[in-house]
């Protein structure tokens, strides 16, 4: 006989209703949707052509014609930000996918098995992890050539040990708990326990880490392209725009202000969205309310 207490699952409409009451989720969702929409619209329309240089219009401040001003080649900053959004989102999203897809199973597996398996996996993990991510990303992109694809790979590889480590640390804190002992006594295998008990309990931790890594992915991409190692001109990228702005801060501060704000707002939106989701789906907070 198994003792099984049913905790009623929230229905889809229940979750939806909760989502609408969650300010962080709503705000994050709207910002993220707007940024995504902006990136998609840029494929078919931008206020100005970002590949066309109009030297006569160079370094103009905000105006009705150019809301965010123009750069040193007379290109419209707003249009460049719109096109740059595609690049940032794609790079960061794929890089988090790589990190989570490989890292979480590794970390959870290591915690569940313990012993030699744990040792071996964590030592390999430590090895990758010992190389500062951005430094290695710089080395990879500088060696294999700058560009968006190499930036994705460089950032993605170094997301793996982060997720593995957090998953393992979280799982290790769950394993000594009583309900795991109960599940063991009920004859469940360690894989079953990992999937049914450990992962749900560390999901919040992983989601929080996921939002952090997404933010870091966007930031790392901006950093790489700031150093000239990300997407290459004439493809606009937010980091590259900031690099171009740096030496012109005194005459054209808007060249630095607006692309930076685009990064801040995007990362902020994604983080709020992540926090909101965590809040809505967290079984612990559900029990308390």
């Amino acid at each position: 006989m198994t003792l099984h207490i049913e905790i009623p699952e929230d229905t889809f409409s229940g979750i939806l209703a909760k989502a609408f009451r969650n300010t962080a989720f709503i705000t994050g969702f709207i910002i993220t949707a707007l940024i995504l929409a902006m990136a998609i619209v840029s494929y078919v329309w931008t206020p100005y052509d970002v590949t066309k240089l109009v030297i006569a219009d160079k370094t103009q401040g905000s105006s009705l014609a150019h809301w965010f001003g123009t750069d040193h080649f007379g290109r419209d900053i707003l249009s460049m930000i719109m096109v740059g959004a595609r690049n940032s989102i794609a790079v960061a999203l794929v890089a988090v996918g790589i990190g989570m897809g490989v890292g979480v199973p590794l970390g959870a597996f290591a915690a569940a098995r313990g012993g030699l398996v744990d040792e071996a996996l964590m030592r390999v993990n430590d090895l990758v992890f010992a190389f500062p991510a951005l430094l290695s990303a710089i080395m990879i992109t500088a060696t294999f050539g700058p560009g968006a694809i190499n930036a994705i790979i460089a950032i993605g590889i170094f997301n793996i040990p982060v997720f593995a480590r957090v998953a393992r640390a979280g799982a290790l804190a769950i394993w000594p708990r009583e309900f795991i002992l109960a599940a063991r006594a009920a004859g469940k295998s360690s894989t079953q326990i990992t999937v049914e008990h450990v992962l749900p309990n560390i999901a919040t931790l992983l989601l929080v880490q996921g939002t952090i890594q997404f933010a870091l992915g966007i930031l790392a991409e901006a950093g790489l392209s700031y150093l000239g190692l990300g997407a290459q001109p004439p493809m606009p990228s937010w980091g590259r725009m900031l690099f171009d702005a740096q030496t012109r801060m005194v005459v054209a501060p808007w060249m630095a202000i607006f692309p930076g704000m685009a990064i801040v707002i995007t990362v902020l939106g994604l983080n709020l969205l992540g926090d909101g989701i965590a809040d809505i789906l967290d079984p612990k907070s559900r029990r308390q309310r």
Partner: protein
Amino acid sequence: MTAYLLKRLAIAIATLVLASIVVFAVLEVLPGDPARLMLGMNASADQVELLRNQMGLDAPLAWRYLHWASGLLSLDFGRSYTYSVPVIDLVRERLAVSLPLALIALALSTIIAIPIGLFSASRRGRVGDMVAMGAAQLGVAVPNFWFALMLIYVFAVWLHLVPAGGFPGWAAGAWPALKSLLLPAVALALPQAAILARVTRSALIEVLNEDYIRTARAKGLPYRAVLWRHALRNAMIPVLTILGLQFAFLLAGTIIIENVFYLPGLGRLVFQAITQRDLIVVESVVMLLVAAVIAVNLVVDLSYAVVDPRLRTRQ
């Protein structure tokens, strides 16, 4: 406990050895002749041959690795090709900028973040928590090099309080040198502090929901005592994990920040070495940074055992 310490130490050393093999191997598998790569396509065959001799490229692979590795151990990193000076001199000079920078940033970040995390967790959902976490949300979203540009604009271009970049050297006196490290350290620290504050808060809240916290409260302990003695200690594992992660991030972060502020630090050295293909400098500095990360991880691992005795006995 001693066995645990020794084991961790052995692992750290093994990781270091493996890392050195990886670094060495990566530079080996790079397409083309390293000497040719460093000299560029226009170099004459004689020049290439000379550098090959200098770098000992004619010796067998294993011998070269051992030679290089033993050189590292005795702090003989070889000579920089672009600067024509021993790499160790470059490193020593640059470390005098980067190490204080990273330490100031780490200290700033911890001092700001932990109290905010404690404050927010203990006032969960109230106005103070919402304001603090709103600020942290914003902080997490700010790229440190953009923040640096804005700091330069406000404090250097507008207010003329600090230099916009460059480093006068410690010989110019402690205050002028510190002054030029101030903006870079703040730029590095604030986004890190925001992340750390969020992690501290969520770890604490996780712990505050536990039964033993209720027990501690029920037996009459004041809230403050429970927060500091029971909650913070149990919340330390994720916090320490993130702190360890952040140190590596901070080290790499100096690469960009030092470029923004034109600081002659280790990060700028390695970035320039990468773009100039000065492989001897690249492999030495990378190994040095890797060794630093491994050392910090060792300390983090050991501190797990200090805060959580259960992990000590599990081994």
